[in-house]
């Protein structure tokens, strides 16, 4: 079940203090992968994810202006966490997890964790999210713009 050839990615906690509009302070934490130190081999089509070019953005807003249409803005929350991993990715036990779970000191060394979601920082995450989004759009009977092909 465990892919023994896979090397283990190390995670890192990222803390952020955010000042919100109503003078409140929000403390956010996010577990990220240190993907730059991931020594596993990935093909280019596993890591490459297209994004819209400036031309396309101009095209959209110019079209909207021409036909006097509204432009709506949507934001996907924690987008990358929507991605489904194709290959197994293992991470080391994040700092503090053993303690939080009430495990002994060796827990960090004795265990590795298998990721279920594509977390931020992983080499494959942008692509995983894009694939997921592309599927959702195809379901809505959208097709990608043929003159700016998104290689998938």
């Amino acid at each position: 079940m465990i892919d023994k050839n896979a090397s283990i990615v190390s995670p890192r906690w990222l803390f952020k203090v955010k000042n919100e509009a109503n003078n409140k302070i929000r403390r956010k934490s996010r577990l990220v992968a240190r993907g730059f130190a991931d020594s596993n081999f990935y093909d280019i089509d596993e890591t490459y994810a297209p994004v819209a070019g400036l031309v396309d953005i101009r095209f959209l807003i110019a079209t909207a202006n021409k036909f006097d249409l509204n432009i709506y803005h949507l934001d996907v929350k924690t987008a990358f966490l929507n991605g489904k991993l194709e290959k197994k990715v293992y991470i080391k036990v994040p700092e503090g997890l053993g303690e939080w779970l009430g495990k002994d000191k060796n827990f960090d060394q004795d265990y590795i964790l298998e990721l279920l979601k594509s977390i931020y920082g992983l080499k494959v995450s942008p692509k995983r999210w894009f694939v997921r989004f592309d599927k959702a759009m195809k379901k809505l009977r959208f097709s990608s713009y043929p003159f700016q092909p998104c290689y998938i």
């Binding site: 953005i57 249409l69 432009i71 709506y72 803005h73 934001d75 996907v76 989004f133 009977r141």
Partner: protein
């Protein structure tokens, strides 16, 4: 991403987690918004005000659209502490041309 049927069209553009869309089909608009929010957790930011740091100002009655980066410029000025001790001067650009 492009969707066309007859004279109706919908254009959806995605930049990682930012989506902007425009359509002349109100039914389709609702369908897109609902389906996407079912699929992913999304925030509806209404009409686009700012996309990738680019602010969009529109005056629909004149079919005018202005793109600018005012908030970026202000943040740079603030970063280098020249926001309060500086005086603004108009630039030699013809305002009629700009429009």
């Amino acid at each position: 991403m492009l969707y066309l049927t007859g004279s109706k069209f919908a254009i959806v553009l995605v930049y990682v987690d930012d989506i902007i869309l425009t359509t002349n089909d109100d039914e389709k608009l609702q369908e897109i918004k609902i389906k996407l929010s079912q699929e992913f957790e999304t925030t509806d930011l209404g009409e686009v005000q700012k996309f990738l740091g680019m602010e969009i100002y529109r005056d629909r009655s004149r079919k005018l659209m202005v793109l600018h980066q005012k908030s970026l410029i202000e943040s740079i000025l603030k970063k280098f502490y020249i926001d309060e001790n500086c005086r603004t001067v108009s630039t030699p650009i013809l305002s009629t041309d700009a429009e």
